[in-house]
Amino acid sequence: MSKDNNVLLLPSVETIEEEASTWLVVFGRESVSDQEKTDFEYWLERSERHRIIFNELAALWGEMAVLKELDDIAESSVEFINARSPLWQRKGFMSLAASIFVAVFMSGLFYFNNGYGVNQQASYVTAMGEQRSIHLSDGSIIQLNTNSQVDVRYSKAVRSIYLIQGEGFFEVAKNKSRPFKVYAGEGVVRAVGTAFSVRLMAEQEVEVIVEEGRVALSSQDLDSIMSLIESSSSGESQNRQPIAELTAGQSAVFAQKIQTLEHMPAIEINRKLAWRQGMLAYAGDPLASVVDDVSRYTDIKIEITDPALRGMQVAGHFRVGEVEALFDSLELTFGLRVERVNEGYFKLYSAQEVKK
């Protein structure tokens, strides 16, 4: 009857873009309510066009992660011609100049490598599925895994790293007089020259794997660590007594005290740290933990419908982010059935299970 009833008209592309980008902003909040998630699912179902436009904008947002390089560019090359006050007018320059003079006299290159910035401070972030290597001024290297953040604070006396979220692998350039400390949750991992990984897990537990050299573990209460982070000091704090020392080939999970401590053969370490080469490797891990691990690298939600499947042992080698390959292998090798509910949601069934 009423032809001008616009119920059947699709909204314009502009309107959908407006809404799609608003959803992307909502998902960037620190927490998203269940109501919002449901509303979003309804929104996405409204038409194919909604889904396509949302995916396009989400892809653009993801691709724009390259803009993070602007930070490195700004740091590496433009610092010295920055339009701030001339160097010699800056506070503390004269005493710094004196110490550079002495240091150059004594040890050649070391302070030069650090440029004028004996105090260095920077923050590095990776998005979901992204990995990144960071070369620090002292020659140490951080490999940052998916969805992670580190704050780097270097001073003359100490090299402090705050792992705010996620996981990193640290190759520490040796310098006995300038310890390297990684703060994660309530844990502090102290090293001189070594290679190890630190992962901040749920419940603020910290997992440490030592590939080379040795590290000392200690704990601090969260409040004092938080205040260190906020004070933007490099964190030469009164450290508690170490609660354990790990050597190459050991791994531990700890917070205020040690929860597990085990020996890890090199092959196992390589497997656990395969993410550094962009790979994920499993050798008989339970399906539930494999799914949890894979989920760290992707927004796709994977649900195991049958509780009996959770403990099933899975082995395989996958490229980070290639969830499809994992699904193929689960179907072909392990006889599971993978149901694609939608773009971002998959269910795993055992082959016999009949879908209701």
Binding site: E17, E18, S21, T22, L24, V25, G28, R29, E30, I52, N55, E56, L57, A59, L60, W61, E63, M64, A65, V66, L67, K68, E69, L70, D71, I73, A74, S77, V78, I81, N82, A83, R84, S123, V125, S133, Q149, R276, Q277, G278
Partner: protein, 204 residues
């Protein structure tokens, strides 16, 4: 529009003429100019640049000299050095093609972002580059959280519109990550000048 992009568009010809005098290799003048824009814009994301034009010239000069120094110290050395090469592979370093491609993408996105109004650009960069939460951005900029969210949302829509005007199909970007060197739509990018002309016309 960012002060650096504006200054760049206004003095692009002079910058290139200046670069031509500095380098013997006139074919790389365009690359140097683009690199100078990128570096200057990167600096602008950190602090306000008082004299954008002079700044661009200084950076352009540094790009040429930096390149010359790099060539002298490393280019001859490291290709022969098998150990270094191994290390490069081990480190998962991108190949030169992929790196170039990434640089072009960075240039394209930077131009899109530089084109945003100041407050919008600031909020967008704090979110996308620094990874700050909306609340932190609001504190830093002294505006409300909902205003921050609005800026980020508008920024994304405007960048998308800008890229579409330039003829980049966003659905192709997904493929670009898988095999960036071969299938990226950015392998043959438009020069910044082309982009810039349209920036001016679309700025109104």
């Amino acid at each position: 529009m960012s002060a650096i992009l504006k200054a760049y568009l206004e003095s692009e010809k002079e910058i290139k003429r200046y670069l031509k005098r500095l380098t013997s290799n006139s074919s790389s003048v365009d690359d140097y100019a683009q690199e100078a824009f990128l570096k200057s814009f990167a600096a602008e994301t950190r602090s306000t640049i008082k004299e954008p034009r002079a700044f661009l010239f200084k950076v352009a000069r540094n790009v040429v000299f930096g390149e010359a120094r790099h060539k002298k110290t490393s280019a001859s050395g490291y290709i022969q050095d098998a150990e270094d090469l191994d290390q490069m592979l081990d480190d998962n370093q991108p190949s030169p093609e992929v790196w170039l491609d990434g640089r072009r993408k960075l240039l394209l996105f930077s131009t899109a972002v530089a084109n945003l109004p100041e407050q919008c650009r600031k909020a967008f960069l704090l979110r996308r580059v620094e990874g700050l939460q909306y609340g932190q951005i609001a504190d830093r900029m002294g505006i409300s959280v909902s205003m921050v969210e609005k800026h980020v949302q508008r920024g994304l829509v405007k960048c998308n519109a800008y890229l579409r005007e330039q003829g980049y199909d966003m659905s192709e970007f997904g493929a670009a990550t898988k095999d960036a060197a071969k299938s990226s739509p950015l392998t043959k990018p438009k020069p910044l000048t082309k982009l810039a002309e349209q920036v001016e016309s679309s700025d109104e």
